[in-house]
């Protein structure tokens, strides 16, 4: 268990490098959908929010969790839909 933070930090380091590699290849044309799409991914906090909201933890935890679920769902649903709406408008000549 003492190793857990180190192991998590290891994952963090790898994921950051992967992120840099992936994103630096995206052309400027798509930067807005990239940003809103990435933003939707940051709504992954919904997983933590669900666990808090659904737990039988004491005190305010389930309420905080439920509010967090609302915010995160707005982020996820809104983010993906608006990205899809934007990308749907990008057409090649003749399409």
């Amino acid at each position: 268990m003492e190793l857990a933070p180190v192991y998590l930090a290891f994952i963090l380091m790898l994921a950051i490098f992967l992120g840099f590699e992936l994103i630096s290849k995206v052309p400027a044309t798509l930067h807005t959908p990239l940003m809103s799409g990435a933003n939707a991914i940051s709504g992954i906090a919904i997983v933590g929010a669900l666990l808090a909201a659904g737990s039988k933890m004491p005190g305010l935890a389930p309420i905080l969790g439920a509010v967090a679920v609302t915010f995160a769902t707005i982020n996820v649903v809104g983010g993906y839909l608006v990205t899809d709406r934007m990308l749907g408008m990008f057409k090649k000549k003749g399409d």
């Binding site: 992120g19 044309t29 799409g37 905080l64 995160a72 990008f90």
Partner: protein
């Protein structure tokens, strides 16, 4: 019920889908499928979490998800493409808020030092993201006024907040408790810091803020992941964090400024540029049409002014007519045109401009000498040759689209006021420049009408 190994395996699948999704966002042809893939990853993560042993209570979750989904879907459906920066700012804010609350709730779990530290971090980053995003939204939608606010004691106040945060953080980590008053001090200071961070940034620097807040929203999720020991939050959060940092960096480079300069200086305070004087040569739609009709290569350079005038559809129509006339048409887009990275591309895509006509600054500059007519619509600073020539200019050194190297330049402008950065533009007095005064949309429509006659 799924056991935790199965749940974590499903999280790996979700993470892989996020990675693939982001990779496919690298080309307009695959981007839409990439986004759908990423959404599928999110759905998997949510469903397996709901099926895991951690979920004992359903009713609050159902209500919360329903409310969130309805708000999110409506917002995504109704927002105008010109308001996309505000929308993204708000979505960043909701992500930050969610991470903040997840961290806070984690305090009711275990009271270890590691949890206390990571909860402090997620409340700090989440809080800065939340209040910063709300202020950024206010500035972008002009609800609070968009100018940079700089006051003398700003650095001193920011320093005090940071010292306060550090002290409160140490105190809290030594004695973590969910109802500790120190926790609320941290929360309050974090929200204050977000406001103070965005306050001195305004106007043309907003794309940087949006990118940075995007990055923070990812980092907040990452910190929350540490607080609750959850891999998928850490992986996805850091992907987003990296994306935001890269975009921030691109924006800064495109303005030839360091991030520190954007964050702390408040643009416009140093404007001591030499006054430009000269005679402008106005032109009317009729003469502009005659020149365009004879051109074999035309490039449009749109700025935020085009969006304000809602001229993008008219511009597209003119582009089509020119193409029908055997002319090569391109749209040259500066990286910081608009109010967020890539904003102008979305507005043109909305007006049915095909993406193969959208070209980046470096590409068009390389062949600007061969362009017959460059049509500048509502752009100013990004085509200002003072950035190359005048060392006293506040935008000196910023890469620009060299429209002055084209054979002829049309500048569509309402009147002779200076641009967003408040800088005079020698382009307007160039020998090959013709000014087409008036509302951009009306001017374009005028040329379209000439073509149709």
């Amino acid at each position: 019920m799924m056991d935790s190994v199965a749940v974590n395996l499903a999280y790996i699948v979700a993470a892989a889908l996020f990675v693939f999704g982001l990779k496919m966002l690298g080309s307009p042809a695959t981007a839409r499928r990439g986004n759908a893939l990423s959404a599928a990853g999110m759905l998997i993560a949510v469903v397996v979490t709901l099926l895991s042993k951690g979920i004992l209570e359903w009713h609050w979750i159902a209500v919360a998800m329903l409310v969130g989904a309805v708000i999110g879907a409506l917002a995504a459906r109704l927002v105008a493409m010109t308001s996309m920066p505000e929308m993204v700012a708000l979505f960043n804010g909701t992500g930050g808020a969610a991470s903040l609350l997840v961290g806070w709730a984690a305090l009711y779990g275990d009271g270890s030092t590691f949890t206390a530290i990571t909860v402090t971090l997620s409340v700090l980053i989440g809080g800065v993201t939340l209040s910063g995003s709300i202020l950024a939204w206010g500035k972008l939608s002009e609800a609070f006024g968009s100018r940079a606010v700089v006051f003398g004691a700003q650095r001193f106040v920011n320093g005090l907040i940071l010292v306060g945060l550090l002290a409160a953080g140490v105190l809290f980590v030594m004695q973590p408790a969910p109802d500790s008053p120190v926790f609320f001090v941290i929360l309050g200071l974090a929200l204050l810091l977000g406001v103070m961070a965005v306050l001195p940034i305004g106007g043309a620097d907003m794309p940087v803020v949006i990118s940075l807040l995007n990055s923070y929203s990812g980092l907040a999720a990452c910190a929350a992941g540490f607080a609750i020991n959850n891999n998928i939050l850490i992986v996805s959060g850091s992907l987003v964090g990296a994306a935001g940092i890269i975009l921030t960096n691109i924006m800064c480079k495109a303005m030839n400024r360091s991030l520190a300069n954007v964050l702390f200086s408040g643009f416009g305070a140093v404007a001591t540029a030499s006054k430009v004087e000269g005679e402008v040569k106005p032109i009317n739609a009729e003469d502009a049409y005659l020149i365009l009709e004879a051109a074999s290569s035309v490039t449009f350079v749109p700025g935020y002014g085009m969006a304000v005038a809602q001229a993008q559809h008219a511009v597209h129509e003119l582009g089509e007519l020119l193409e029908g006339n055997g002319c090569e048409v391109t749209f040259a887009i500066h990286p910081v045109a608009g109010r967020m990275p890539g904003h102008m591309n979305v507005l043109l895509a909305e007006a049915s401009v095909p993406y193969d006509q959208l070209v980046e600054m470096e590409d068009i500059n390389r062949r600007m000498e061969t362009v017959d007519v460059a049509v500048v619509i509502g752009a100013n600073d990004v085509v200002n040759p003072a950035a190359r020539q005048d060392e006293g200019s506040p935008i000196y050194g910023m890469p620009i689209i060299n429209v002055d190297h084209a054979r002829t330049v049309f500048v569509l402008k309402r009147s002779m006021a200076s641009g967003f950065a408040g800088v005079d533009n020698p382009l307007f007095f160039g020998d090959n420049t013709r000014m087409l005064f008036g509302d951009a949309k009306a001017s374009i429509m005028g040329m379209v009408a000439q073509f149709k006659d």
